[in-house]
């Protein structure tokens, strides 16, 4: 089904009503499998002991914090360039989810940092840039919430999202330069991953599970938002009718 067919909200609602239960089921199955692998198959680290399990929550959340901004950037292009009617719905619903995943990444990282680095928080490059990402999510949500007209807010938020997408690498690079302690990338890197497969496979499973969770929540949030907009339109029409 081409993307343009989904421009019709009714068709989108009908399609997602069919897809969503399967997606939720798949999410639950992947979570059960991923958690089993993480807790019973993956060995404890010889140095970190059981705290290494935090990684199976932390890494997927950190991945999603960036993935969601990427998705919002694509949606922003959809709003500005192709004027896809669902693009700003997608962007609006992704922002709180992205903020939540970023927050979880920060919290789990902080809890992991306490036993490993001896402190909950350090002004390290990676932590700081994720914190800035979190602030930008919050700013974006604030922008969405200040304007009542959805399409006007959508275009403004789309521009801020794209500016943020350009700025995030700059911020990342500037704080990298500023101070660093966090380990370098260990999965996506040249010369193959540096993690043993018994840990890597559960990690992938958990990452897929969290991504599916995001997709399910996102679709459900988009359905809610569409219905909310319908209610808003009906109310406006009703108010106009009452006046005439």
């Amino acid at each position: 089904m081409p993307l343009i067919d989904l421009a019709n909200p009714t068709r989108f609602l009908a399609l997602t009503a069919r897809v969503l239960p399967w997606l939720i089921g798949l999410t639950v199955v992947t979570f059960v499998g991923g958690l089993y692998l993480a807790f019973f198959v993956a060995p404890d680290d010889y140095q970190q002991g059981a705290t290494v399990k935090i990684m199976f929550i932390h890494v997927p959340n950190a991945w999603l914090s960036m993935f969601v901004w990427g998705l919002m950037s694509v949606a922003a292009l959809g709003t500005l360039v192709w004027r896809h009617p669902l693009a700003d719905v997608a962007a609006k619903c992704a922002a709180p989810l992205g903020a939540a995943f970023t927050f979880l990444a920060l919290v789990t990282g902080s809890l992991w940092g306490r036993p490993m680095w001896g402190t909950y928080w350090v002004w390290d490059a990676r932590l700081t840039s994720v914190l800035v990402l979190f602030l930008m999510y919050l700013a974006l949500i604030a922008l969405w919430r200040t304007v009542d007209d959805p399409s006007r807010a959508g275009r403004a938020a789309a521009i801020l999202t794209l500016v943020g997408a350009i700025n995030l690498p700059i911020i990342k690079f500037s704080v990298d330069w500023w101070n660093t302690l966090h380990q370098p990338a260990s999965i996506m890197r040249l010369g193959g991953p540096s993690i043993h497969w018994t840990i890597q496979i559960p990690l992938w499973a958990m990452t897929i599970a969290f991504t599916l969770l995001f997709l399910a929540l996102h679709l459900a949030a988009m359905r809610n938002e569409l219905m909310r907009r319908r209610v808003r339109t009906l109310r406006l029409l009703q108010a106009q009718g009452a006046r005439v």
């Binding site: 922008l143 403004a156 500016v163 700059i170 690079f173």
Partner: protein, 222 residues
């Protein structure tokens, strides 16, 4: 081109005359710098060490203060609509407005910086370097702020939203501005590295800021 230069002259004149915000920014800058010793205690050695960072922070906050006026006044009295409909390219128009805004709010901060440096016990070298980095860096702050000002004008909501939107984007400028200033005074690294990156940030934000602000105004106003 004459339309653009006329716009520049007009904006500078408006800012300098009654109700202009040029002096208010410098006063705020002064107030922030005066507050710092009350918080840290009058330890001259400490102030000297953090002086350039404080000057940068004060200038950053002071430049946020005037952003509201960048487009909001023109939007309120309708001249922004005329500019939007005019023949001059909107990107250049907003760039001119940002330039006028910098000349009337950013430049006074740069000029005030050495004087305020005295209060923070900075020596002459440090003062010169901080002033130089501010001269290079504050245009970046204005251009980044231009995006926020355009969003605020398009959404008819300014107030607290504007600094919240703009502040996270200014972090790189702050980092490299302070790094360059510190490198010249104490740091082991050469000044040239952070200074060139600061120049690059200013140029990049001049491009991103003007295009994003113009796009915001085009999409947001109707």
């Amino acid at each position: 081109m004459s339309a653009l230069s006329a716009l520049l002259v007009r904006d500078v004149r408006v800012a300098l005359r009654v109700g202009g915000g040029a002096l208010a920014g410098v006063l705020f800058f002064l107030a922030v710098v005066v507050l710092i010793p009350f918080a840290f205690g009058p330890d001259l050695a400490l102030l000297q060490r953090v002086g350039s960072a404080i000057l940068w922070l004060g200038a950053l906050l002071a430049s946020l203060l005037g952003l509201d006026r960048l487009l909001a006044d023109d939007h309120a009295d309708g001249s922004l609509d005329l500019l939007l409909m005019g023949r001059a390219p909107l990107e250049l128009v907003v760039a001119m407005k940002a330039l006028a805004h910098w000349l009337t709010t950013g430049l006074p901060l740069v000029i005030a910086a050495p004087v305020l440096g005295l209060l923070l016990n900075l020596d002459l070298d440090a003062m010169a370097v901080v002033t130089l980095t501010l001269a290079i860096g504050t245009p970046a702050l204005t251009f980044i702020g231009l995006i926020g000002a355009a969003l605020a004008a398009a959404l008819r909501r300014g107030g607290l939203l504007l600094p919240v939107l703009v502040l996270p984007l200014t972090i790189p400028v702050l980092i490299f501005g302070v790094a360059a200033a510190n490198a010249a005074v104490v740091g082991p690294m050469p000044v040239a590295t952070p200074l060139t990156i600061l120049c690059a940030l200013t140029l990049v934000s001049a491009v991103i800021g003007t295009f994003a602000a113009a796009a915001t105004l085009r999409h947001g106003m109707e």
